[in-house]
């Protein structure tokens, strides 16, 4: 999910949008189409998804610590 640099340089999301990862999509919406509000909304969704993933990670981490 944190993949941007390599896709941006190698394919720019193309051909078409076949290799467009979500970071790149947000970047294009915000800085190519200059639709900042749409970009921000995408950012918030990404943020929520990361929080859920991160929360699961912390839960696992702490459970393992209690066992140890």
């Amino acid at each position: 999910m944190k993949e941007f640099d390599k896709v941006f340089i190698l394919t720019g999301g193309g051909p078409g949008n076949a290799s467009e990862v979500v970071d790149l999509f947000t970047y294009r919406v915000s800085f190519a189409n200059w639709d900042m509000s749409y970009g921000s909304a995408l950012g918030i969704v990404l943020f929520l998804v990361s929080m859920v993933a991160g929360g699961a990670f912390f839960a696992l981490l702490f459970r393992r610590q209690e066992h140890a």
């Binding site: 640099d5 970071d23 970047y27 800085f31 950012g43 990361s50």
Partner: protein, 276 residues
């Protein structure tokens, strides 16, 4: 098989696997360095030339005529400033988080780590809007602030681990012997974590050095760092692969040196604080 021969076979297989893996990983990098010393004909010769007359033209054009020296300087300035500020703010913060029990300690650490886990683009959009409103686009200040978003949490987490690995009896002893809290921190604890401090600083520099997305969005002609300057060589008149390779080689050299210097601290720093 005898245990001795078996062990030897395992050794041989392990080393063979390692060599293959190293070869796979290093080939692109070696190719980059080789290409940077080739002229345009040699770079695209088929079959690829291993032996060729090396030339320094690519370096001369890229850094002499095309202004990549300025980009190199930009990279150095931004990485240094942002590392310095991250250490200045992050090290005392890490120390207090490691030593004093406060409400919301854990929550604060988690919050810092969460900031580190976000995809960079989530921060890039609001940062761009903020800096644009403040008129900070294409300034070093904007870059330094943006890089602090990942350097500061990193510094706090790393240094907290190093501080936790030093028993708090040491600072207590210093206080008993007449040091103030600040004296104990600066004169006793900080010198003990000097190795960790250096490692943290170097990691901050490497992270800032390699950063691409923030640099892409927040810089313009005057402050572009090396990673975002390289694509300038993909021009409508053709791609200057030799010069790209030359700039790429120069970009990776400091990282290589630093990485070798701190590799043994990485694991210790990341785990030191967690397993308490």
């Amino acid at each position: 098989m005898k245990p001795r021969t078996r062990r030897r076979v395992v050794m041989v297989v392990t080393y063979a696997a390692l060599i293959v893996a190293l070869f796979v990983i290093l080939t692109p990098y070696i190719w980059l360095i080789l290409t940077s010393f080739k002229d345009r004909v040699d770079a695209f010769a088929i079959p690829p030339k291993i032996l060729f007359t090396p030339t320094l033209d690519n370096y001369r054009v890229a850094f002499g005529q095309k202004g990549f020296t300025q980009n190199l300087l930009n990279s150095v300035i931004v990485a240094t400033l942002s590392t310095a500020i991250a250490l200045l703010v992050g090290v005392p913060a890490a120390y207090s988080l490691a030593r004093f029990r406060m409400r919301g300690n854990t929550a604060f650490m988690m919050f810092l780590l969460a900031a580190r886990m976000l995809p960079a683009i989530v921060l890039a959009v609001p940062l761009f809007i903020l800096f644009n409103t403040a008129g900070l686009i294409d300034t070093y200040g904007a870059m330094v602030l943006a890089y602090l978003t990942f350097n500061l949490p990193f510094t706090v987490w790393m240094m907290r681990g190093f501080f936790l690995s030093i028993p708090s009896e040491i600072d207590e002893a210093a206080v008993v012997d007449g040091c103030s809290y600040f004296g104990a921190f600066f004169k006793v604890v900080l010198p003990l974590t000097l190795g960790g401090l250096a490692a943290t600083a170097i990691f901050c520099v490497i992270n800032s050095w390699n950063e691409f997305l923030f640099a892409l969005i927040l810089t313009g002609r005057h402050t572009a760092t090396l990673p975002v300057a390289i694509p300038q060589l993909l021009t409508p008149y053709g791609t200057y692969w030799g010069q790209i390779a030359a700039v790429g080689t120069v970009t990776t050299i400091p990282v290589l040196i630093f990485a070798f210097a701190v590799q043994r601290y990485l694991v210790r720093g990341m785990t030191g604080g967690v397993i308490q």
